[in-house]
Symmetry: C2
Subunit: 309 residues, 2 copies
């Protein structure tokens, strides 16, 4: 069970879509926790509450449904319609081999955090996220640019209070970063690999070549830098190395990692492909370790609990 958390327009859906394609549509139950809003768009406006606030969401039901899916039980998932901000009839979601939960508050409670094998937090620079949000909300959700910018300001308090603190619970923190003069298919990726999960050994293939790839230590974490302009051949070399440790899952190799849409155009990014493969790696090793009777103990949770007093 994979959890993907990040602020609005941080790229959750892009990451999720790639994983669903890679794992196979029929193998994945993908659930978005935005569907668990308590109030529709009009009610929120009246109440002056943002969808980022836990009080604006059925956090208890979210937690139960995550546990249900984790325990292989189907759920009847509510449906929030972004197109007009109202709720539709619920849909039946059957448990599958893999579950991907993406949303604003999926790591908000311990109960929810405990259901995940891998926890991912998306942390693009605010400037980039704002750009993404304006672009998406004006083209797909019928807002004007001014409205989106005003909404971003209105949400800032709750972002800081409820969304960003969830970063501390992540196994992987992923930050795509724009580079002056390059377009969005060439964003750099900065990936922080927290201890608690056994990450693939990348030191064997990333060793200070002039390809721009970097792997460095930051406290207890490994930090991987993937330049947006990494060429395909070198990208595939790293991917090949990771696939070697996934020998039990060769049948899932699809080669469609790294795809995303820019406007209406289908594009590909090596940095995105590598990021998705890292998540993919953990999804598969988690399954393997569960299948082999692994305990899934989360050392990281203990460390955080201790440091938070």
């Amino acid at each position: 069970m994979i959890g993907i958390v990040g602020d609005s327009a941080a790229g959750k859906t892009t990451i999720t879509r790639g994983l669903v394609r890679a794992l196979g549509e029929d193998n994945v139950a993908a659930v978005c926790t935005d569907d668990y809003h308590k109030y529709d768009r009009n009610q929120r406006a009246e109440m002056k509450i943002t969808p980022l606030h836990p009080d604006c969401n059925y956090v208890d039901i979210m937690g139960q449904h995550l546990q249900d899916l984790r325990a292989n039980r189907a759920i009847l998932k509510p449906v929030y319609q972004h197109s007009d901000g109202t709720f539709g009839p619920p849909v039946y979601v059957e448990p599958r081999r893999f579950t991907i939960i993406e949303g604003l508050l999926a790591f908000h409670t311990q109960e929810m955090r405990d259901t995940f094998d891998i926890r991912i937090y998306l942390a693009p620079p605010e400037e980039l996220r704002r750009k993404w949000k304006v672009s998406r909300d004006t083209t797909k959700r019928g807002y004007t640019t001014d409205k989106v910018l005003a909404e971003l300001d209105r949400r800032e308090h709750d972002s800081a209070a409820f969304i960003r603190p969830q970063k501390q619970y992540a196994d992987l923190v992923i930050a795509f970063q724009p580079v002056e003069g390059r377009d969005q298919s060439q964003l750099d990726a900065l990936i922080t690999l927290h201890p608690g999960l056994a990450h693939p050994n990348l030191a064997e293939v990333i060793n200070g070549d002039s390809d721009g790839l970097e792997l460095r230590r930051d406290g207890e974490c490994d930090v991987l830098f993937v330049p947006g302009e990494l060429d395909r051949e070198r990208g595939e070399e790293i991917e090949e190395h990771i696939w070697k440790s996934l020998h039990f899952a060769q049948h899932l190799r699809s080669g469609r990692l790294g795809e995303f849409t820019l406007g209406t155009e289908l594009r590909r990014s090596e940095a995105l492909a590598l990021t998705q493969l890292l998540i993919f790696y953990h999804a598969l090793t988690a399954r393997a370790s569960v299948a082999l009777g692994g305990s899934g103990t989360r050392e990281q949770d203990k460390i955080i609990a201790e440091s938070n007093g």
Copy 2:
């Protein structure tokens, strides 16, 4: 947790409403399992499936939600709109002191049956039920008489296969019966009290007087007959006797038991009042026994399991 099962228009809502009034609206979470239909009215027509068929309902979700409520967890309940046969946004149902579940299939699985402290099956004579159904569906659900009658025929197979067999799991089987020349406020009530629950001792107050009340033994069951024309004073005497054993719950005495609407008129029936009080008695003693650490073992379930092989 009270379960009330019976075929369409068997009187589930009438019984439930009286109980909700008696227990206090704020004390009761009332859930109708019709909301768990899988298909809307048009889909059912296309598929030629009736809402009585388990395949037409999310029986698994029903079972989970009953267990959630039983364990004091809130649920997000789907909403089936009888007015037009479609689904609306789900609603949040918080656990309360008492839970009343009414529906067509609430005793269909062992999982569901196990959640109830009291199981009630409503078994009016088919002729009376058909009359009730025609009356309700033409006045409240926009059907014509011919359509309702055709629908009743269409449902007969599934009624026999899935609804009526649930009667065997009931603690109380309630059959209101019409009497020639009397109107609906004077239906007789025939109540079969199955072993497995400790019913109130009625033999002390029902003793062959000429009031028409009868208490007789039928195999392992007690059968109580309450004539529709029972006068109010005698009714209240019996009720008083039952209330004596509910000394811990005197504050819940409201005197509004037995009310129902006939057309647009509010009416009262002694037989209905007594029936509701019997259910009420079990709701309260179940709570008391849980509070006192009772185990809630269901002897009846074992007996049925044995006899069914």
